[in-house]
């Protein structure tokens, strides 16, 4: 008996990694994230091609040494750039998403590896890189390149455990970015809790001066409050993985607020992590929501003409949506 209970518990723990989530969420994430990669290459990790021109400061990171990746040159960084742009554009349309996705994942990883090979490593790309590696593992329902598709991938409510696993991996990586930051802060002060009451933000502002930060320098207690809120939030971040519905939204808004504050004080935006918060959002409901609005807009006029209330199909539709929402909430 207890062995059986144990077994179902293990089963449930394993199932947590593969919730059934609608394929539409994957389709939305593909479009958003592959387009984001193009933005990223021009706005954030944008010095990769420059490093190809001046490889003098190149210090290859572990992964680059492990796979014996060639030193950046004008030829290979330009090729990388063109391949990434083309593959991202194709993948963002949800056409040939696996083929294009398997090209983007290693190519962008290499792009970022080069970008961070000058002695300075940023920590805002974990979730995005993980997302690019897991998205191609999800098979779309339409195979190959068909221009007219029976069902739009953005509306596809077919739930899939493979999709759920990919989503879960992105969610875990987003949360890991915060939780592991707290671990690094404990480690950085010799495994003590010295960080939140230290002068770290004062140090950061003095080194990245700008008006909001400089005003805060006169009020060190506010900086200490922020440090405590930050590290406690980071330590508690894994809770967000198990929150549902509105509570999860609140959790997400807390961390997005955290980034807004960081941007205001230090001009550090972490957008590559922020965009991956969308893995928590029920994007699969976008199309049904618009369809419902559109159809209720037209049926409202019919209703007022007939002088009747809501139609019976509506209630059933809502019940079905609520059921789906319940199944997918938190997933």
């Amino acid at each position: 008996m207890s062995a059986e209970v144990e077994l179902t518990r293990t089963q449930r723990a394993l199932d947590w990694f593969t919730p059934a989530i609608a394929l539409a969420r994957i389709a939305w994430l593909r479009t958003i994230l592959y387009l984001f990669v193009i933005l990223d290459m021009h706005a954030f990790v944008r010095d990769t091609r420059l490093k190809g021109e001046h490889p003098g400061l190149y210090q290859p990171l572990f992964l680059a040494r492990l796979f014996d990746l060639p030193k950046p040159s004008v030829a290979n960084t330009t090729t990388l750039y063109v391949v990434l742009i083309v593959a991202c554009l194709v993948a963002s349309t949800n056409r040939l998403p696996r083929l294009a996705g398997w090209i983007v994942a290693p190519a962008f990883t290499w792009w970022v590896l080069i970008g961070m090979s000058d002695g300075k490593v940023d920590h805002d790309h974990l979730a995005l890189v993980v997302a690019l590696w897991v998205l191609p593992t999800v098979a779309p329902r339409t195979q190959g390149w068909k221009w007219r598709r029976e069902i739009s991938p953005y509306a596809d409510q077919t739930t899939s455990e493979a999709a759920g696993w990919a989503i879960r991996c992105v969610q875990i990586s987003v949360i890991a970015t915060y939780f592991l930051s707290a671990i690094a802060k404990l480690r950085g002060s010799g495994w003590t809790l010295a960080w939140p009451s230290s002068a770290i933000l004062t140090w950061a502002i003095v080194r990245r001066p700008h008006p909001v930060g400089e005003w805060l320098l006169h009020h060190p207690w506010m900086l200490h409050v922020m440090q405590w809120v930050g590290i406690i939030g980071e330590l508690l971040s894994p809770v967000v993985l198990w929150l549902m519905g509105r509570w999860q939204l609140l959790g997400a808004l807390f961390f997005i607020g955290f980034h807004v504050a960081n941007t205001a004080i230090l001009l550090i935006h972490f957008l590559p992590t922020v965009v991956c918060w969308l893995a928590f959002a029920p994007l699969e409901r976008i199309v049904p929501w618009f369809r419902k609005r559109w159809s209720s807009g037209s049926s409202d006029r019919a209703d007022s003409a007939a002088g009747s209330g809501s139609d019976p199909g509506e209630a059933e539709h809502q019940a079905e949506e609520a059921r789906q929402a319940k199944e997918q909430a938190g997933a």
Binding site: L14, F17, T18, A20, R46, D47, L50, L57, L61, F62, L63, L113, M116, D118, G119, K120, V121, D122, H123, H125, L126, V129, V130, T137, Q157, T158, T159, S160, E161, A162, W165, R168, C169, I172, A176, T177, L180, S181, I183, A184, K185, R187, G188, S189, T192, A194, W195, S198, A199, I200, T202, W203, A204, V206, R207, L217, P220, I268, E320, R323
Partner: protein, 154 residues
Amino acid sequence: MCNGGVTSIRLGRVGKAVRVFVALAGIGLLINGSVHATDDAWPFGPMSQYAGAVADDASITYTRISAQTDAGTTVDVPLNIEGAGVARAEIEARTGEIVADPSLLQAVADGWARKHPDQPKYVKLELIRDTTTLVKGRVEGPPRPEVLATWQVR
């Protein structure tokens, strides 16, 4: 499998086992990186940006390059890709080399001139380290500048 009109695609035993294993291995690598590794292990290294504790009496240094232009003005060189084509982190990492060989600053002047041909040229560059010393965790007074290297642009 089909329920309530919504199709559901499930994973096979192997597909599921492999995925759970990969997820757990990834989490393991991340935790290991945070506890033991350095930035070298990216993306599995520690999230160490701003993770150090700074003492209440710490000296905070800030390295910048000040330029005299042919228009007779003195400006701080914008140390980023759009500015002089070199990042502050790179200058800070190579301060020792620049002090030993100030001619390395020529690249900064060249970078600026190439990217901003219509702006005043740099005629003299100074590598300056500003030191702010904290008193009980507060910034007291302006930073103390110290010229580390000077270069007459060619």
